[in-house]
Amino acid sequence: MSQRPSYAVGTGLFIVLGFAALGYLATQTTSVANSSRGPSYTVQAHFANIGQLKERAPVKVAGVRIGQVQSIMLDPSRETADVKLAIDQRYNQIPNDSVATIFTSGLLGDQYVGIQYGNSKKTVADGDTLALTRPAQQLEEMLGRFFGAGGAADNLSGSYLVKARFTNVGALSAGAPVKMAGVAIGSVQSVKADPVKLDAEVTLSIDKRYDQIPDDSAAAVFTSGLIGTQFVAIQPGGSPDMLKNGDEMVLTQSALQIEDLIGKFLVSGSSSDKKSPDAGKPDAGSKH
């Protein structure tokens, strides 16, 4: 080792550079960069529903990361998720009446635990439990709430079947809700094409509780929102006779195709439906 070959230094530099690159990749570009450093304390929270929350998901206050989810377990005795949060020791001033909520970052992003401070003078300590929690908001539930009662009505008290014929059902499929005044009262049982009359025969299964629907009511295929699923809306008529099992609804309004609507809007009456196109518009407007 008396004389050092010229390549030895270069080789050493190369090895150091390689390991430096590995260290950089491992610590700066992976989730290791997010893992909390330094001491932390553990707080528990019980959620009714954690949605897609995962271990090591961030815990945030005012959008700032203060820790991470340490573990998620189902409480064996109750139907709640037991979530342990590891919070950085620096943030030890969290009031013990703070609310832990599961949020979603963006529309499609990952979920995280957000803590909103309460007003209590006492702060949470290691091992404490945040009693006030809000579960993860399921997108389906929110949309359902937004567009009126979501999904099909429960079918506990039995149902009766009513037929309706449409010249065009759009994308209506079996299982779609049947709504009256925006509230689900049943579901579509089947959608079939009639080989003779060349139209669509839709069978509606309506809850027995709603047996006071006049038999001259109109059925229309609507779309919830711009890109939502389609449903059948029933607009009550004025007849003293009520719909019974096996009846057929005479007045129907077919699904409005967005192409038709745009066409009508641009050039009035470019492709007119069999039914009057004006009939649906005020209703559709008032519904949403």
Partner: protein, 257 residues
Amino acid sequence: MSVPMSRDNIVLRSLSQIGDCGLFLLRILASVPRSLRHLRETVRQLWFVGAMSLIIIMVCGLFVGMVLGLQLYDVLSIFGGTSATGTVVAIAIYRELGPVVTALLFAGRAGTSVTAEIGLMRATDQIAAMEMMAVDPIAYVIVPRFLAGVIAMPLLCCVFCALGIFGGHLVGVSWLGIDNGTFWSNMTATVDLVKDVINGVLWKSVVFGTVVSLIAVFQGYTTPPTSEGVAYATTRTVVASSIAILALDFVLTAFLM
């Protein structure tokens, strides 16, 4: 070691090549303790196959990262998801492009020169001369080159990946205007240390380095001692390495997933 030159079945010939290659690997591994006396030779080979390949690896890594950033930004902007560019660049480079492209470049840059060097030693009877002087050519010539390749490949791959990330950052953030914080935070939120860096970058590159080095020294050592033979051996190194890298990449991915 017999060189299988019989012109029978191509399947039998390839099988016997693979078998010879495996036996050769065992001979190399058996000679590793003896070659530790020639540690300086290993360092010198590490300089040749590793440090001298740095420039091409760095330039290629930079451009691969840049083109990934550009393409992904273009596609992701259709879905309004350009903030995921950093994540996808990192995952694509760590899991596939880093190890595979580095290994292909390594086979072309270092594997061929190792094959040609050993082949010429064989053609000019240097290897026979070593055997005459009771110097084990496996321990003195083959093992240092093999070890150098195995060590250099993961290091080169890490450099490639780092430059790739830098290239993606350069295009995505500096040129196309993705937010710097978004770029990094999305990346660190998704990229996993074990799944992406250790399984992707390290494991794959160690396996590829072993395979490319083995093919290079085997082809050089078993080359027919003619100038034509050396030319063939060099070509075969690149062809066999490329096939082995891409096939093993699939197998490794399936196992490491």
